[in-house]
């Protein structure tokens, strides 16, 4: 029997659980190449400039302003990991959240991939075969 209640109205957009859907997910760039894992999230007040760090009031509505990548286990010994050691990926680059977080830009432009790029350019490209495509027919 119908209870006469109206169905719950559709929410605009999609509800995402930060812990379940964002934290510890793999981040892929526009070509599907891995960039990093979401180690933490940066939050800021709605409409605020994310580059200005100021305390938030208790009733402020916050949004995710950036994905952070960096030392994940810094807090084991005690204290919070230093935020300056973390790499930011601004939220505006995020295009989709599925079994991975997808970005609409190339991984090379983010500081999170600098070790990979350094090794690639300074070391691995110089070893014979480092640029060889294993899938190419020989």
């Amino acid at each position: 029997m119908s209870t006469g209640l109206l169905p719950e109205p559709d929410q605009p957009g999609r509800v995402v659980d930060a812990e379940l859907h964002l934290l510890d997910r793999q981040v892929l760039d526009v070509d599907g190449e891995p960039v990093c894992t979401v180690d933490d999230l940066e939050l800021g007040a709605v409409g605020d400039d994310p580059d200005i760090d100021r305390p938030l009031a208790g009733d402020t509505t916050v949004v995710v302003t950036a994905l952070l990548s960096g030392p994940v286990l810094g807090g084991v010994v005690g204290g919070r990991p230093d935020s300056s050691r973390r790499h930011r990926i601004a939220w505006r680059y995020v295009t989709d959240i599925g079994t991975a977080v997808h970005l609409g830009a190339h991984g090379e432009q983010f500081s999170a991939t600098w070790v990979e790029r350094w090794l690639r350019e300074r070391v691995f490209s110089r070893i014979p075969g480092g640029r060889h495509d294993p899938e190419a027919d020989e």
Binding site: L23, D24, R25, Q26, V27, E33, P34, V35, C36, T37, D39, S69, V72, L73, V76, T99, A100, V115, E116, L119, R120, V123, F124, S125, I127, G129, G130, R131, H132, D133, P134, E135
Partner: protein, 409 residues
Amino acid sequence: MRGPLAVALGILTAIGGFLDAGDLVTNAVVGSRFGLTLAWVVVMGVIGICVFAHMSGKVAAVSGRATFEIIRERLGPRAAGANLVASLAVTVLTLTAEIGGMALALQLASSVERRLWMPVAALAVWLVLWRVRFQVMENVTGLLGLTLIGFAVALYLLGPDWGELARQTLQPAVPPSEGAAVYWYFAIALLGAAMTPYEVFFFSSGGVEERWTVKDLATSRLNVFVGFPFGGVLSIAIAGCAAVVLLPLGIEVDAMSQIVLPVAQAGGPLLLAVVIVGLVSATTGAALETALSAGYTLSQYLGWSWGKFRRPAEAARFHVAMIVALVVAVGVLMTGVDPIAVTEYSVVFSAVALPLTYLPILVVANDPEYMGEHVNGRVLNAVGTLYLVILVVASAAAVPLMIVTEAGA
């Protein structure tokens, strides 16, 4: 490649690739001391690895995510980090055992001292990881590994008392010469050898390497459920050879030459040569898979780009991780430790680490957000849960039994 030929190739590769140094050594040791009274553990281990390899392959094919990405996502950075440390330690220990096994097999073929072979073997492994295409690597080592069928041929040629072997298999009992604690210690070692954690990392990441999709699930299921049981038959044949030849003479296996002694006795130099080819390719294949698994787990936990399908320069940190793992393995072996002893410890510590890998896979295979309509059915879940209970018990009992029995002495 599609069609029946591809299916046959996949199954043959799965058979040939099933055995590694852990299986070879543990089965021979067990056969020489317990006959076939522990063959039931191999059967149990094979069913377990089929179920979980199928599950991890399915997760990789449907979600495109490999095992350790999922472990990190489900357990968070700390618990997954602890899991990573344990899994990496066991994987590198297994890699050490495989490189040691390669060196022993090459020593058997050449009479050149094993410590001269170790760096050569590691270099060969690195060159394959650096250069050779994933599918070629898998097919070549898998097909050459098929020559281990020589153990089954040897068992047949030895003309054993089949009734007695069947009785030992079907009505297992602790032999009077051995204690119950030692029996159960080796039962856990055999389970660890059959279900080694790297196999799950490798299978799921390999699914991503080979770009499996839902369409490939049927092929993958066939490879696993037909190929692995035949691999298990070869395991039992190795134990059977040792049971027929070594057990009555009271020879306990502590060298590679003793593992192949029954083959030499039954089939002469020709069959021995064939089996040595199998030993080299089985250990080489497993060394490649464990080195890759070390790279896979670390890269997936930290979100690095990984995979043999990429140019090495485009998965730079992944290749660094594999090189470090190989250097560590050779470093450990060059201290002069006995590779057979390393192998015996590696399978027991594999058993200890098993629940760490198998629990997250079982959880995610039930998560509709990842799996959609392909979530586990009831039967698969029932079997998976049963195995998880067994694995937790085996994992908890492994170290106490190791201490009580002085590692099976």
